[in-house]
Symmetry: D2
Subunit: 314 residues, 4 copies
């Protein structure tokens, strides 16, 4: 940090006021020149907006965490529909939950206190708990029924090709992530696909299946290689984060824009909690990259960012 | 958890969509029937609204954390101005920062990455760091000048009386917490007042001072004792949380409404991370209390709650 | 919680003393009847010991996080050598780091403060940062050289078979995880294998490779299905945790012993932070299971547990 | 970070092995040249040892968090008895719990799962919960009885003088913190004393009490001013951390040794989660200070550090 530059950027913290009739742009603008995570949230909104307006930028979106069970399926759907995501990398769990909702099944919630939940009783009632939301066991039956009837044209296609095929086969649904990705030609990568209920059903009913994971890995490297510029939004870390990051090492310009929304912390050294700053040492972000490592539950931050992006869209 | 009750409250997770023209009420309403902290944020907004509309409810507000340096002075000011706080309990640090801003000094921020900050150099430049905001040393000189000239009528008055006196002596300022509390007769309690730069200057320049802490302690107990109903909003925990909680044990109805916004976690057993649920065992919350323990940076959650409360006010 | 049972288990918190000549068994025993994470650490030690002594128990070990770069390679090696792990599930990153160390390369650390690290300069020096440890870029060259020369007998074998083959081909090394697993016939599963530097080199130099991930998924289900009893130790969560958990749903007895060591928190709903208790609702842990969800950096907890297990081994 | 210095300190991460017959010194020595919090724990042990061996060093110890209820009373007692603490700064809660145990009352724990606890029922049973330990209401009656009978010689003495008086009046007890401090002339500061059950009983039964908090504040400044060198160990942050830190600004040499053990995180800007590094900008730590910000539950870290210090004592 050259001394001169540091001092030159310093200015007053904005002791802002809020009017009840503010729109989301005015609200985020208020948070801009403050501190802590308020500032980072405003910065994340701005960076994502710039990323969208930069026509040279390929937007990678990494999605981990139980976002669909927590009611964020429509939010992610809209990120894709609005063109805010070019390439989606996610977990098998989110895809499994997306298939469930798309087939007409539902996750449940209620006026229940987390401390009052009796997991033994929940098990007897075949109600699988994900913190404070629930997936009834019977959902799996619906997924199994759907998967068992799939006529898969090629057992060795890349996972991403299978996910496109799956999106095409799923019924019309206004919130479906797989569906909107298939319709809008947004590729989905899922490096740990066999780590999911969806893949288990596939394996049980299509025993010869050997979807190709390596072709996807190389395709991601190609996508990064071909990107004029790259921007990333990482929700929650995990395999999606690392899979994007390892590919970005092959992007000639590395990432120029980066957002991470996580509740993990950096000190224990895991990737999910690692700051975006660390990625510069690896050449995954470039030296001039604008980035914001936002410490927030994604169920709060993602809807706000989407709201802001929709409002500020030209 | 009686089985019947649990099942009866269950309903579908709301897979909501966001329109760019939503106002904050529509936004919060969308988050209501979801999961994780999105749901808790919506619940916190609702509970605070109910607390305001319940004319029998005394609203205790506990404020810890460096909220003023992070640009939240106006937010807290407005909570008081709007009548959303009846009794404020806070730290000496927040009062010190409030005095600084009220006297015309400022906290600073800039386009600086936290990893780039060199604390040795910052020390040479007399720039005190609070994560990613800064308080120049010279601010203390301004506080010292103001405090040294105070003509304190009674060295043994309760801390809360002194803080009211201080609010009256401070110059007019649109964001000042001490000022608006003095004007609106909202008492401020500060049990750890001598743990602050403000108190240090007092002690240096008024050596006979012995502000009474015990009278404040008993006054808080009286306020809790006299409350028909009690509602609490705890920001960040610490001494303000405990001071409210120990008083609530003497409130005949215990608290009926409760919100906590914290980033601390419960497992290591500290009070700041303790869930509100735990307070029921102590009789600090009553059994029918509505409460939301929100895991979020207060710099994000507080402005959203204020925005919602202003918009929904009748 | 039946009232009677709760009261019957209550006893005094142990206000213990420590003698300088304590061995690790005496130390852990002191922590037993206390509270918070001290108690959970003692419980984790006891449960792991019971798991080892229970000859019917198959021990699944899930390993996520950058444990090898942080110096824990020998610790994990010894868990395997001592027979404390029957089946290892891990990330591609840990295997990549293990290959690097086994080939004679090293991770680096130093008397450097994390705030002083300049990631731009680190990038210029080709020094990849993992929080406060470093992997020089040239390590990748060594891995590439090794991988490019591998004569892989079957491009469609399961990932676990390839990892055994890899362990056999690696040079003798006293700390190598892959080596000791190959020698002791401990299977390694790596569901997100293509999410790693090791897999990238494989893909670049063996373009026809399509290691079978589905066969591993089914093999894990079979292992769980065949287990008379199951015990799990989860380090850090992530894909290894979920891959074990999804298999345990097919274990007739579900898991009877469970330990998780994590720094993630449960409220944002991600699997890594989910409590072990939650797994009961899914039928992944059985109702009588003994479990300890330990909130600790694994670099502290794992060596302590290993030390205890070695000392208490009969 | 001058490039040369950084490179010069780099060395191999220690891929250590553990022998079952290790003593605590050998164990900590193994963790020394690793990464993440294992390394920080080893560093904390070393720094504390150096602090003790440096005869010019005044050792300030800040204690927040419910350590006594969690069974750490004897550990803290021994830190004092061994001379590892020169000045103790703590919360009213820890003193209240210490008085309770010293009077022969006990905190309780049991084989209870935190999720199974019904706080409503606990309230009916007059069992106050502190995460997973319990304090029966009747303990307060014992404290009240003791406090009401105290013949307090001076109602305006400093809090620290009263705490010494209290320690003298308490019965002999092998674990008592107040007792050993009184016996060994280790001053106890408690800036937020009125935020405690102990102070409430004092206030109820000795209505004229107005213990002087300002004299303690100035006395702490004097102690820091007079220290040839200063070393600090901060457990959990809060008021004790800030009270030490604000005094250290008046120490001519600032702190030369510093340890913090916390589970809070730095990003939300609260003092408890702030890194020790930040304190350099304020002049609270000097530029050459050796420090370790250890992210760990104190119930794990404190007993380990005590064990190490006892073993390595000459």
């Amino acid at each position: 940090m050259p001394d001169k530059e540091f001092k030159e950027t310093l200015k007053k913290v904005n002791q802002f006021r809020i009017s009840k009739d503010y729109d989301i742009e005015q609200f985020i603008s208020s948070l801009k020149d403050t501190g802590f995570n308020a500032k980072r949230l405003a910065l994340a909104c701005e960076i994502y907006k710039d990323m969208i307006e930069d026509k040279d930028c390929t937007k990678f979106f990494g999605l981990a965490g139980a976002l669909v069970p927590a009611g964020m399926q429509g939010v992610i759907h809209d990120f894709i529909q609005e063109g805010f995501i070019d390439i989606l990398i996610t977990t098998g769990a989110n895809l499994t939950h997306d298939v469930a909702e798309t087939l007409g099944y539902h996750h449940l919630q209620g006026e229940v206190n987390i401390n009052d939940l009796n997991d033994v009783k929940l098990h007897e009632e075949e109600m699988n708990r994900i913190y404070d939301v629930f997936m009834p066991n019977k959902v799996y039956e619906g997924i199994e029924d759907f998967v068992s009837k799939l006529e898969i044209p090629d057992y060795t296609m890349p996972v991403s090709s299978f996910l496109k095929f799956l999106g095409e086969k799923l019924p019309k649904n206004e919130n479906s992530i797989l569906k909107i990705c298939a319709e809008n030609d947004v590729p989905i990568f899922c490096p740990a696909f066999t780590d999911s209920g969806l893949a288990l059903q596939l394996g049980f009913h299509h025993q010869k299946i050997n979807l190709n994971h390596f072709k996807d890995m190389l395709k991601m490297v190609d996508l990064a290689w071909d990107a004029k510029k790259a921007g990333i939004c990482i929700v929650g870390g995990g395999v999606p984060k690392n899979f994007i990051m390892q590919s970005l090492q092959f992007c000639p310009t590395s990432a120029s824009y980066a957002i991470q929304i996580t509740m993990d912390r950096p000190e224990p050294g895991g990737l999910s909690g690692a700051t975006l700053r660390e990625a510069i040492s690896w050449g995954k972000l470039n030296e001039q990259a604008r980035y914001s490592t936002l410490i927030s539950d994604a169920t709060i931050a993602l809807p706000i960012i989407l709201w802001y992006l929709k409002k500020s869209e030209k």
